[in-house]
Each structure stands twice: as structure tokens, then as C-alpha cells.
């Protein structure tokens, strides 16, 4: 029995097929054959959240999900938000405006966790934001400006001043 499996799923709205081993992590499938290096590897124990992506609307740690588990599912990564003309999304703009990133390594994971939250709760309270980001570590910013960025993006979406 071959260890290689053919799987089909969508990544950032685009259908992809991948032939890969059953043991391939989603993280490695994204960063390797799919060439999407925006999702990062920061630890071995699913603690840091740098690998966070969204699968069928849920924030998951791609270091702890097998690629084969994503067959038939919709995966979105940090690259997926880019507008064709390069305009930043409200959340991206909020991160820039609020100085919500320093080295930028945890940022994709933070953004994906925030995006999954937005999908469920368009106007999250601060406790809901903290709960959504609890699984994402940042060593640079001290978190203040990250939370502010998520709040600003929600406010902008609601049409109220940031």
C-alpha cells in the first residue's frame, strides 16, 4: 500500500491537488509544495500559534493537522487576504496603523486567529479577542497593539471611527 495520497482541497479559494505522504503536516504542505511561506513554524508542541491557518472557518494550528485531513476542505492562509491591486484588508491596515507587528513572525498566525473570530463574531468584545488570541504567542510587542489592531479593524468594519 502506497504511503502517498492524492488529496484535493481549496487554498485561498483556489482548488489544489496534492500527492503527499499521510504523515505530511498541513504546515509543511503549505510551506513546501504549495509555496506559501507566510505561515510559520515556531515550536514543536502546538503552543506558539505561528502556524495558525483557517480551515472551514475554524482557526487551527497547521503543525498539528495532517494535510490529508484537509481533503475537501477550504483552507485560508495569510496570503489569502491580498486584494488583486495590493490594497490592504481592514485588519492588515489596522496592524500597520497600530504598530501591531515588530518582527512580523507571529503576525500571520495572529491575523488568522482574528479572522476566524471575525467570521463568528463580527464585533468581538475584549474578552472574546483575548480568548481568540490566547493560543498565539508574541515576544516582541507585548500584545497591546495587536489587541488594538483587532479592535480597530472591527470598528472600521462597523463604520465607526477607529
Amino acid at each position: 500500500m502506497s504511503d502517498q495520497h492524492d488529496i484535493g482541497f481549496t487554498v485561498n479559494g483556489r482548488a489544489v491537488t496534492l500527492t503527499t505522504s499521510a504523515t505530511t503536516l498541513l504546515l509543511d504542505a503549505l510551506r513546501g509544495p504549495l509555496g506559501l511561506t507566510g505561515t510559520h513554524a515556531g515550536c514543536d508542541t502546538a503552543q506558539c500559534g505561528a502556524c495558525t491557518v483557517v480551515v472551514d472557518g475554524l482557526a487551527v494550528k497547521s503543525c498539528s493537522v495532517l494535510a490529508v485531513q484537509c481533503a475537501g476542505r477550504a483552507v485560508t492562509t495569510v496570503e489569502g487576504l491580498a486584494a488583486a491591486d495590493g490594497t490592504l484588508s481592514k485588519l492588515q491596515q489596522a496592524f500597520v496603523d497600530c504598530h501591531g507587528l515588530q518582527c512580523g513572525f507571529c503576525t500571520p498566525g495572529m491575523r488568522r486567529s482574528a479572522a476566524a473570530l471575525r467570521g463568528r463574531v463580527p464585533q468581538p468584545s475584549e474578552p472574546q479577542i483575548l480568548d481568540a488570541l490566547e493560543g498565539n504567542l508574541c515576544r516582541c510587542t507585548g500584545y497591546t497593539n495587536i489587541v488594538a489592531a483587532v479592535q480597530q479593524a472591527a470598528a472600521t468594519r462597523a463604520g465607526s471611527p477607529a
Binding site: H40, V78, E79, F105, L137, C138, G142
Partner: protein, 786 residues
Amino acid sequence: MSGTAMEAGRFGSGRVVNRIEDAALVRGQGQFTDDRSQPGELHCVFVRSPHAHARIQGIDVDALRAMPGVMAVITGADLVAAGVKPLPPVAGFKRPDGTPAASAARRALAHEVVRFVGEPVLAVLADTLAQARAAADAAWVDYDELPSVTGVCDALAAGAPRVIDGAPDNISAQQRHGDAQACAAAFDSAAHRIVLDIDNQRLAPTPIEPRAVQAEVDPETGRLTMWLSSQMPTGIRNALSDLLPDLPKDKVRVRVGDVGGGFGMKTGAYPEDIAVAHAARVTGRPVRWRAERLEEFTAAVHGRDVISRAELALDAHGRVLALRVRSFANTGAYAGGTGVAIPLLIGPWVSTSVYDIPVIDFDLNAVMTHTTAMGAYRGAGRPEAIYLIERLMDAAARELKLDPAELRRRNFIAPSQMPYRNPMGQTYDCGQFERVMDQGLALADYAGYEARRAQSQQRGRLRGRGLATFLEWTGGNVFEERVTVDVTPDGFIEVCSAVQGMGQGIATSLAQLAVDVFDVPLDRIRVVMGDTDRNNGFGSAGSRSIFTGGSAVKVAAQRTVDHARELASQALEAPVADVEYAAGRYTIAGTDRGIGLFELAGGQPGARIHVDATSAVGGPTWPNGCHICEVEVDPDTGEVEVVAYASVNDIGRVISPAIARGQIDGGAVQGIGQALCEKVSFDPASGQNLTGTLMDYAMPRVDGFRAFKTAFDEATPCTVNPIGVKGVGELGTIGATPAVVNAVVDALATAGLGRAAEALQMPLTAEQVWRALARRELPASPFKVS
């Protein structure tokens, strides 16, 4: 193409601007080292020692070499045979008996002996990562286990296992500073003597991006190109050239892409860097390696880890007469220059801090143990030094029944004493410490504290307040920087610097300084770093980048404008004195005849204006601050919560306000982490690292304190560099730790423990705090040295 002066002025120094780094990073288009891949690359996996101390009796690699995809297996013996030298040991220090400082030879792969859990022993190279891991798992190394020691006090005890034979007491180096006799006399005559035994615990810097290294050799030229996540590319290049055989400096190029946090952990060359480079040279294929988090916790440098007995002598009015410190710092198994200089020299430079203390007596020791090597971690010695003096000052205030701010006020160095030479021979150029404290007290609403404490009490919480007034030393002791500037007709100005971005936004700050001179919009400036073929220098550490790198950019930019003015005068056929520059254009004064800077560049040979300028600042800078923290303690659980934090910081002129604030607040969260939850722990019996994952090493998370009140006082610009700037990167970390701990001690002292609360040691876990409150059980002194 050229903006108006007003438009450019919106982006110059002092303004809040969107960072130029963010466009790529926020889109997930960062170029971190592990994001690169090369055709034909080999994956490297290290086999590491599971023992803290052992002899390597035998290694069987034949079976490994036969495994699928395995291209090479490299041992320590292979490196010795190939002429690869060990990393440089500590130099310039002495043992107590006057012999040169002791250190074991640290090889890129261990040879004959392993000295800490996690030390690299084999490098396995295979076509895929899975194949390399499978082979590494199958590696068989025959170890003969030896006794080991991990704690400094245990290492000093009679009969302790030795790290190397040349140092039977395990002391690598010792330094005495000050005047022991004068100090003893001061203590004899003192009205008050305060003694504290302090454990400044071992920490793991833990940048979220693990180390990553890639190496490839050009088959035609033999030139080695390295990509790695490092703060100091030139240092890496020099180390590779020094340690690898037949590799002159011009045969090595080091490139650095985006760095996901450094904090000092990514400054020096690591064994893995040497091993990966060697592997690329012997296999002829590109080689890549990324550290797993366990490898970072066990084999990347740790910080702090020093045990001290600190004593303060004061007169009846609370004036400090003398400071005496005896300390023992852990160097780990391999005492390197950085790991020894930090506790013996760099930290002590600021031990008397902002206070006018006339007499010191320091007995500082670097001790070897079978643990990970120690290195720089945000603050690098200054947090340890400031922690001691600030804990002492609060204890003295408690003893003398003085307000902690008042005690400090009686001891500040006055502005009239500047420039001030401290007892370690360091000269502070300027500082207004009392002024900064007064602003800090106001920002923290110091006067309103009692009302807040009463409110906390009504909610069943103990409240405490802690103060830290302090300064720190910045610069890395290297003050010269080279900058090149290239102006091109496509309308861009490329500034190349040898400092290194790692998240601190230095490219943006340098660009703002360039805008000050060139008077063009920010998006006309491109900042290039991280290529040893383009520029060389010390790199980024010790909070030096903005004041050394920034001063050099300002000088180079000004030289470019001046040089281009001469070119313009030729082009316009007018005397230089009549040529003015503004907003990207040279004009003849009083006329509308002129030429644009970029057009001028296009007309030059090579179609560019190129300036190469090396300049130096006059010395280190002494940023300083007043940090005030309030905590609440739940007496039922011992949990500590930071509930207020205000700081006023003197970093001289502020170039990039949002970036500077991010450095203070982000650094403060690291300092809070040391105070409350972080610690690297070893099992004393086996030497195993007990905190090797993020499940065990407690990092600050998003639900921690975030409501920082952070202000800057720009009234005291630095006088030894042309931009008036003082370093900022480490200031928040240095101030936060003592502010938080002083607050918790205050809460418990006020709750009835009195001065007994000063026995608390970091991290202030809920268990320790609860035991103190509920059972009056306090930790025994960590200073178990005779």
C-alpha cells in the same frame, strides 16, 4: 518625484509613520531564512547529547549512512580531522589565582566529551527532512555517563564534578572592582546596613522564529554563501573564516533576510552555523537547518543566571555610603567572551546606576556548570545590576521608614554633577534623574495610591507598589559605523547600513533620519542591511542601532547632499556658495534655475551619485527612566496581577515615537515575564532541562497586562552623538523586573510580613506567594556559597 518640504517633513524624525517593513510582513511576504529553498538542498538534523556530562566512547554511523536519502553523517572527529577549529574561548579575564580565564574548547560537534544536554554531536544530511530525522533517530552513540552539576552553588562546593580539569573549583574567571578596605570602613561606620541575597534566574530569550541557517558553495569560485537569522552578519562571516579551513574572509558572504526576533540570542556564531557551513563544503550541495523549539531551549544561549549577596550601607539620613556585591554567575559549560563579560564587566558598569554612590566593592565570579552556554539576553547584565540596586533601595526605604521615592531623591546624581564618572570608571554625559522621577510619579498618580490600595482591599486583594529609577549603558562598545548612499535617476535613495533589522523597525528610523536631510518623501528611501558583501560592522546589539547607525546615516546623508551640491554647481555653472538644496532640488539662489537631485544623479558617470562614509559617535549613551508598577495579589491563591504600569523614559531625542514606545512596552512585558513566570530549570541529579518546551517554560500571553502609560522626556538629548539620541531597545526590560518585584514585596510586606517579604525570589509564582502569605514560608537564601 520630489515632494514639498512640508510633505517630507511629515515623515522625518519625530513623526509617527507607518513602518516601511510592514508592507511585506503584513502580507505574509516576509523573507525569513527558512522561507528560502534551493534546488538540490540537503536537510540537516542534529543528534544531540542526552546527557549533561559524558565521554563519547564510540559512534556507529555506518548504518546511518546506508539509510534512504542520507548523503552524509558528520562527527566531531570528522571536524577535527578537517581542521575545523573550536569557537573562541573567553579571553582577557583571569581566574582568582591569576591564571588565564578557564574554558572548555567548544567544538561545532562534540568531540570525545559532551558537557550539556542538547550539545550537538552528529550532523545528519539527507534529501528530505523526514529522511534526516529517521536517520537521526537511528543514530547510536555510546556514552559513558559522568557526574554533572548544573547550579552555581553546587559547582563551587568541594568535590563537585569538574567541567574541565584546569579549573578544579569550576571558576572560569573572577573580577574585583572598587576598594574593599574603604567599603568595609563605610559599612563599619554606617547607620544602616541592608543585605539581600538575590537569585536572578536563568531565562530563555525565546524569539518566536527559531534559528535557521542555510549554506551553499559556488562550485566555480568555492565561495560560501550563508543565509541565517542573525543580528550580526559580519561577526558570523569572521567566525566562519576564522574557524573553517582555507576560507579567507572574501570567500564568505553572509546574508540576513527577515529576522523573527533576536533579543541577543542571535548575536554570536553558534556551533550549528559552523557545522552547516562545513556540511555544504564537504557535500557540495546547499544545506539547510531550522532549529526545533526543543533545540532552542536546550542549545541556544540562555540569559541571566547569577546569584548575588548585595549590601548597601547608608547614613542616618538615607544617603548611600557604599555598595558591596559578591556574585556568582553561571557561564554554562562553555565560557565564551560574551557570557563572562556580561556579569563581570558590562552589568557592573551600571551597578551604582543613577545614584551618587562613592564607594564600591565588587567580587564577581563566572562559574562553569554542565548546562547550556550563557550569552546575551535583552539587557545583558544591566537587568541583573539594576535589579540588585533597586531591590536594595526599596529594602532600605522600608528599613528607614522612608518613602521609596524620597530615598531615591536623596541619592540621585544631580545635573550639576554631569558629566559624572561612576566608581566603575564609566562617564555619564548627561541625565536629569530627579526630573524624570518627578514626571514618573505624576504619570503614575503616586499621590493617589492609598485610595487605590483601600479599594483593592475592599475587593479582598492586597495591593503593592514598586518603583524603579535607573539608567543603562548602550552601544556595544563599538562606535564606528559605515554607511553608503546611492542616489539613482529612478528617484530612489538607497542607504546601506551594517546594523541589522530584527523587528525593532530600524530601517524605518534610519529612513526618517535620511528624510530629515534629503527632504524627500519617505517612500523615496530604501534601506539595505544584511549583506556582508555590501557593508560590514558590529551589527545590532546593546541598543546601539539608532544612535550609532542613525548618526552614521545622518552624516552620510549630509555628505551626499554636500557632494551633490558641488556636482550641481558644475552642472548649473554657478558657484557652490550660490547653490541651495531643498525638497530634492538644487537651485541657484535668487533664481528659478536648478536641477533635481535624481536628474543630477542620472547625469553622473555610472548614472548614480555614490557616497561611502564612515563616522563614529563619541561614546555610549545612558538612557534612563522611572518605572512604577502596581500589583494586586489574591491572598487565597497567591496569584499576582499587574494592574497599573507607568513609565517616563529619557531616550534623548525620539526619532520614531510609535516604534520607541513599542520597544519600551514590548520590553516591559519581557521584564514582567522574568518577574512572574519565566525560568529555565535543570534537574540537579541528571542535568536534564526541565523547561524545554513552551508547555513548561511560561511565556507572557495576550491576557497579561497591556495598559501601559508610557511617556518620553526629551529634555536631555545625548551630547556625544550628532542626533542627540540614546538607545531604547532594552530599557523596558531592565526597568520592569524590579518595578514588578518591588511591588509584590511591598504588597506582602504591608500585609504583615514586613522585611521578611524581601526573601521572595523570581519568578513570583502563585505557589511561592501563597506559601509566604498563608504559611509565612519563604524561600531559603539562594546564596549557598562560603
